[in-house]
Symmetry: C2
């Protein structure tokens, strides 16, 4: 058996948002698909470890922001590799409230859904949402998961359905530290090598900053 | 509200197969996504009007063949625009039986799943399948739904979750366009040749109409 074929499935890159006690929250998702055309419904798979999962169950509404190739990759670092439990992911993020849901403006557009059903699995909840509002922000090219991996060279959060355990390398030498601005990984050493790739999210030296 | 954003969601192109009384059956699907990583599970949305839907419920197993950019577009015509009720879709198709399920050899590879849950919606069933076998057929580039629309210039079956009534195709300056009334393929040229056959579904000139 060769499971490599499961990496050949095609996805987009999305940020799924809702509210937690009046505070906007959200996380990155790639497992999103339309389920029916009339009415337009969408299935979204969100890990129960994600803070956003319980918030969607509480609010019973969510929004999908469709990321564009031109969207700032740091949105993926913030919404994919941090938790709304400990940080305000929307701090410094350009967002608006559409049909009472927070959506990211640096995207192709959004879909707002009412939750009409759920299916629980071992680790994830599949939310079935019925479209109640949608709009496009210009005619941007949507970011595919393949583009994210190959062009942006990003990785998957551990809570993603498509996560594959990655090798981690321990660095203990030197006194300086550099943090990956995408996923928060800390590199310890005098200088990030030119050909270095973040072991968590795969980005290069230029996206590391000294801390 | 501008629903155009829902066409910006990204998908692959797949053929979902199973058996009907010992006969291989299947249909095209694009709404397929991984739901959990451990165990690997997949959600597949299939219209209840599709013959394959009832067959999956009966057999409780299905296979996903991941189409490649190099896959013969006629597979989409056969499996997407005809019904296993009236034709043998596998007639003349190169397929093999893998882990007791029929899969198409002209693809990137396959995933065989046991059905472990279902969610019914207005028109479609979402099957949750647990991976029991998988393999790749070489290192082909998977066909995305976007590639199918833009490069192969194909349309969506009316039973597809992503079907949009009267799909709009903008006319280029000066040139004429003809649309296949069966599958939506657009022919560009002054006139459809008398011996022309639709590259997707195989019908002749008389089933094309000027747009």
């Amino acid at each position: 058996m060769n499971n490599n074929i499961i990496t050949k499935l095609s996805y987009g890159v999305y940020i799924v948002t809702t509210w937690s006690e009046g505070r906007p929250v959200g996380c990155v998702a790639n497992s999103i698909m339309q389920v029916t055309a009339e009415p337009a419904t969408f299935a979204v798979s969100i890990n129960r470890d994600n803070f956003t999962n319980a918030c969607i169950k509480d609010i019973k509404k969510f929004a999908i922001s469709v990321l564009a190739e031109s969207s700032d990759p740091k949105l993926i670092g913030t919404f994919g590799f941090k938790s709304s439990r400990v940080v305000d992911k929307f701090d410094g993020v350009d967002y608006s409230v559409q049909s009472r849901l927070p959506v990211l403006n640096d995207s192709c557009g959004y879909i707002v859904c009412d939750v009409i059903d759920t299916m629980e699995t071992d680790t994830h909840t599949v939310f079935l949402g019925k479209l109640v509002a949608a709009d496009s922000f210009g005619s941007k090219t949507p970011m595919t998961y393949d583009y994210y991996h190959k062009v942006i060279k990003g990785g998957a959060p551990k809570t993603a359905p498509t996560y594959v355990a990655e090798e981690q390398t321990e660095k203990t030498q030197g006194g300086k530290k550099y943090r990956c601005t995408i996923c928060g990984y800390v590199y310890e050493g005098d200088e990030v090598p030119d050909d270095y790739m973040c072991p968590i999210c795969g980005v290069g030296k230029d996206l590391f900053e000294e801390i």
